[in-house]
């Protein structure tokens, strides 16, 4: 059986990939996808930990997280569409009307 630590390392790697994606990619949709990767890395942690404890709560929590992720994607894409109507661009560097 694969030990818990390896699952945790895998999910940490996935989480870092997602985080880097948010910083590095220059397309709003890809950035949203990177956030999804981060959330799924977290899901993997929950599932693996739940299995290691022999408890179902880890698995059940994942359903909640998936629901939240879906709601977040819906709102996020709606906002992206609203933004696209003003700017016709998906490059975050194009959005400069607010600056410190």
């Amino acid at each position: 059986m694969v030990p818990l630590s390896q699952y945790l390392i895998l999910s940490a790697i996935l989480f870092v990939i997602g985080t880097l994606g948010v910083f590095v990619r220059r397309n709003l949709i890809t950035i949203l996808l990177s956030i999804e990767i981060m959330l799924n890395a977290v899901n993997l942690t929950f599932v693996a930990a739940g299995r290691a404890f022999g408890a179902v709560d880890g698995q059940i929590i994942v359903f909640f997280v998936m629901t939240v992720a879906a709601a977040e994607a819906a709102v996020g894409l709606a906002i992206v569409i609203a933004l696209f109507r003003h700017r016709e661009s998906l490059d975050p560097d194009a959005f400069t009307s607010l600056k410190w």
Binding site: L4, L8, S11, F15, G18, V22, L28, I31, L32, I35, M38, L39, A41, V42, T45, F46, A48, A49, G50, A52, F53, A55, D57, G58, I61, F64, V65, V68, A71, E72, V75, G76, A78, I79, V80, A82, L83, R85, H86, R87, F95, S97, L98, W100
Partner: protein, 481 residues
Amino acid sequence: MLFSMNAIVPLACVTAAALAAMVAEAFRTPGERMPIAPLGLIGLVAAGIATVLLWGHGYVSFNVVAGDDFGLFVTGVLVVIGLLTIAFSPATIEREQLPAGEYYALTLFAIAGMILMAQATDLLVIFLALEVLSLSVYVLTGIRRDSRAASEASFKYFLLGAFSSAFFLYGIALTYALTGSTHLDRVGQLIAGHTFGSGAMETFAVGLLAVGFAFKVSAVPFHMWAPDAYEGAPPVVTGFMATGVKAAAFAAFVRVFMSAFGPLSAIWVPVLWGLAVATMILGTVVGVMQTNVKRLLAYSSIAHAGYLLVGMVSANAVGRAAVLFYLLAYGVTNVGAFGVLALLESKDRPNDELRDLAGLWNVRPGLAALMTVFLLSLGGFPPLAGFIGKWFIFTAAIQSGYYGLAIIGVLTSVVSVFFYLRIVVMMYMTEPEPGRAPLSAPIVPRLAGAALGLATIVVFYLGILPTQLIDLATQSVARIF
């Protein structure tokens, strides 16, 4: 523990009002006017009454929603913030032609999320509450869809918010992987008993949760979204999210870190100390350079998050009570200030540049006077609410021996007075620039006027007779920590 639904009554009242607003909007024929704002006010008043009735009973519902005095105190603060926000809203909705039903439904859902966040005693429920309130506020920020700035603000807020939620959730997952539970009491017991191994993982868990909370309370260096989101949103919404989101996030922050992760304070106290110092200094220094009133108030609210963090770092009973009192004082004052800005907005221009306020005293002396009261309270002048709040926070810091924090706090407060007074000087002593159309006298609806009056009374009451509220705050933290 006795099974009881009592603890969720305030939450249920607000949710019911939100659902009613949504249904009302669905049945509205185009062009028909519906009294949706009063619906929200009724729901909030009912929640307020329920909060008062539940006080002191300590009910727990479903083992995850606690009606303890700490949660109820914050619920009370949130109800007041919600009432003021809804009272200021009709003018903005009318002027910007916003969809009223959606606006009120989202506001009320956000308040429901905030109340749940203040009362939740399980990390998973705190996360769900955080998402309910965040998703509503993201949409509210961008509710002026025809405005480019609003869409951008909304997206920046959403992106960084979702990003920080992922960190927060990862913190919860690591906590679960360590302890096998997400319930704060259980996590606290296991951490105190040290029934598990590796020290690196608990540090990661605490760190990730701290990052998540720091984003939500806009602590430096996780504050980048705040000025943009605050500037792009309509002023009423800005006032709401600068106070409500902060109050709910701080309530959960205090609860999680003091109760569950209290035994690990050696890890998180230095981190929060650094956050508090950076937040107070950056919020104040950058605030001095702003020329837009909304941005200026955004940096001021960042600085205020720093003062609240000082109360948390002190980690004594006085500090926790001070955080509660400060949330109330700051909340009422700031909603009032943004309420005045919302009334000054006109259809052709936002009137949120500093020079737009020149000569306000001649056009609307009443609004200028009220704005002055709110600004002085934010700056911490006696005898106003902000003064007592700051005094209370710095007392806590000194009692715990954090003299450095107290000194930095007092110094930054003194500097911040400069930018608050700059607005006051602008309103009273500066003539409007030639060639720039003077401020038109705004019409103040009766409801908004009443809300401004109420906010002013509370600001003076908390400043002159704070004992009663201080006692309540002290009692409410004494029972749970």
